[in-house]
Amino acid sequence: MAEIGAEQVVEGVPSFGSPNVSGSAPEGGEVGFVASGWRLAAREFLSNRLAVVALALLLFFVVFCFIGPLVYHTDQSFTNVLASDNGPSATHLLGTDDNGFDELGRIMLGGQTALEIGFLSAAIATLIGTVYGAVAGLAGGLLDGFMMRIVDVMLSIPFLFIVLVLATKYSATVLEESILLGVFSWLVPARLVRGEVLTLRTRDFVIAARIMGGTRRRLVLRHLIPNALSVVIVNITFVIADSILALAYLGFLGFGLQYPAASWGDMLGNAQTAVSSGYWWLVYPVGACLVAVVMSCNLIGDALRDSLDVRLRRR
């Protein structure tokens, strides 16, 4: 095969679009450096200004919540009833909550748990979903049908209700809440991965790789996983956003972490009383942080979808 191809080039009749074997510029004009798919995706992502801002905002919140407490020292373990519900002042930049904790420090602490739970539950959901979807897609037939009906059933039960029912027993620690949210968030990634695997199996390049003698291992590792990865990555950002929102709902409805641990959701638990008492600093700053992080994740997800999906990529 290779010899014939080389002969054709020597004979000087290269067809259009044939690989440029000799190294000189092709006749059709300049061919720019063709980057790998990931590098192209990264370039596309970075050209979306809104997404870059969102990414910067998310990184800012990670730094703010995890490094912030090292700079802004507050006491978050001993209550101080005498200094409860104080408005913003020079000593407490965002005032204090009903236990006398410094609100800004508490936002940093609550942000840590919110981000941890968001990322951890997304990791759990993605892991379960990817494995489940890949097994169903590769197995096909009856097993696939059975596995997908289970997904249908679980998708029909509204997420918030089943999570709340279980939260009556299991929502006390970061790990418990992450597992609880992750265990009911893997359904969409499972469907996505299965769909990808099903279409990829019949795509020309996979068939070509198989005909050329590619082993099963090579097919899965080099072709199926990298190509299915993009939908999974896009989904991760949405799961993080949904988990942080769900956490807020759990906290508001009174099923948050065990005291003294706190997440942004739990801090909004008394939002109603705080608003009616006029303690705005206990509601709006933490609410704004929550909305900013959720919105960043959604924006990053949208931009990633645009940049990773070759079909949507503008030329």
């Binding site: 009906r149 289970i150 249908d152 059933v153 679980m154 029909s156 039960i157 509204p158 997420f159 918030l160 209700f161 089943i162 709340l164 029912v165 279980l166 939260a167 009556t168 027993k169 956003a241 929102l245 807020a248 709902y249 508001f252 409805l253 009174g254 099923f255 909004l268 939002a271 109603q272 608003v275 009616s276 006029g278 705005w280 509601v283 609410g287 929550l290 909305v291 959720v294 919105m295 959604n298 924006l299």
Partner: protein
């Protein structure tokens, strides 16, 4: 067409059965018998055993599941010993008010989201389009109770024009309908969150429709912009909304739950929330099953409605 509907119905029945099975298993895992709620924490083991025997909680899991299914088929969702009432009676009492809240906000969301989406598509990439997208994206990323709180802050606490909570005088569905001022904030809160997701879909579906040949033809015939939009675009661009309304039932019910808790509006959401606090599992699982079945029905109706409404989709 008929074959497709029959097949969809068949899947819906299977999925409903699956929902019932999951709810039953959950109920069992969380509280295998309501005996503690009935006899209290100081009951003797013998009394517990005897109560379980007379009420059938000592039977095998399969036997209990079969009688649970039988009860479900007869719309018997069990008995709440904490409320001292059958779950069906409790839902019967509250469902009307929740349905009113859901439907009123859904209606409001549709009549706001459809024109907004079309206007955004017509004036795409303008300052107005970006502004609306920014607002809807923010609402989309916001917990609905936070929006409700902001509305309470503005309209109830600062301006004193609307009540912050729904009053105790609303005891019937009719009472809810005849007190529009008290329900304005809950309905607007729920509708705003729905508008956030609906208008995004409406914008993209109107964009798709605008690029179609029949719109160009209508323009070429010399029709005014208004006629093109109302006669030709509206109907076609609204088709995806049919599906979206059917699929939005879980979100709507979740929104109902949060809005009812926030505004203290007596509906099934508030019933569910109180049951959460009391660990009243018959109510919790009944609600989970009902919302699941409503979701299945919503998906089913959405699929059927879209094949009826769109002659281009004719599934065999």
């Amino acid at each position: 067409m008929t074959g497709y509907i029959i097949r969809r119905l068949f899947t819906a029945v299977i999925v409903t059965f699956g929902i019932a099975a999951i709810a039953f298993l959950l109920l069992h895992a969380l509280s295998s018998s309501p005996v503690n709620a009935v006899l209290g924490p100081k009951a003797t083991p013998q009394a517990i055993k005897a109560w379980n025997k007379t009420h059938g909680y000592d039977r095998s899991l399969i036997a209990q599941f079969l009688s649970y299914l039988n009860n479900l088929l007869h719309l018997n969702f069990g008995y709440s010993y904490k409320e001292g009432q059958s779950v069906t009676a409790l839902f019967d009492e509250n469902a009307g008010r929740s349905a009113y809240l859901s439907l009123a906000s859904l209606f409001l969301a549709l009549i706001v989201a459809i024109p907004i989406g079309i206007a955004q598509a017509v004036k795409r990439n303008s300052v107005g389009d970006y502004a609306v997208t920014g607002v809807t994206f923010t609402l989309y990323s916001m917990p609905s109770f936070l929006l409700g709180l902001i509305l309470i802050q503005i309209f109830a606490l600062d301006l004193h024009v609307l009540p912050a909570l729904v009053g105790d005088n609303i005891t019937t569905t009719w009472g809810a309908i005849t007190h529009p001022l008290e329900l304005l904030l809950p309905i607007v809160t729920l509708a705003a969150i729905t508008v956030a997701s609906f208008s995004r879909y409406m914008r993209s579906s109107a964009l798709d429709a605008l690029a179609q040949d029949y719109i160009r033809l209508a323009r070429a015939k010399g029709l005014s912009q208004r006629l093109v939009l109302t006669r030709h675009l509206l109907r076609n661009a609204c088709l995806p909304m049919v599906t979206l309304v059917g699929l939005s039932i879980p979100a709507l019910l979740a929104g109902n739950l949060l809005t009812e808790v926030l505004f203290n509006y007596p509906g099934t959401g508030l019933l569910f929330w109180n049951a959460l606090g009391n660990e009243d599992y018959p109510i919790l699982l009944a609600y989970t099953v009902i919302t699941g079945v409503l979701t299945v029905i919503g998906n089913l109706l959405a699929d059927i409605a879209v094949t009826v409404a769109d002659p281009r989709i004719r599934l065999g």
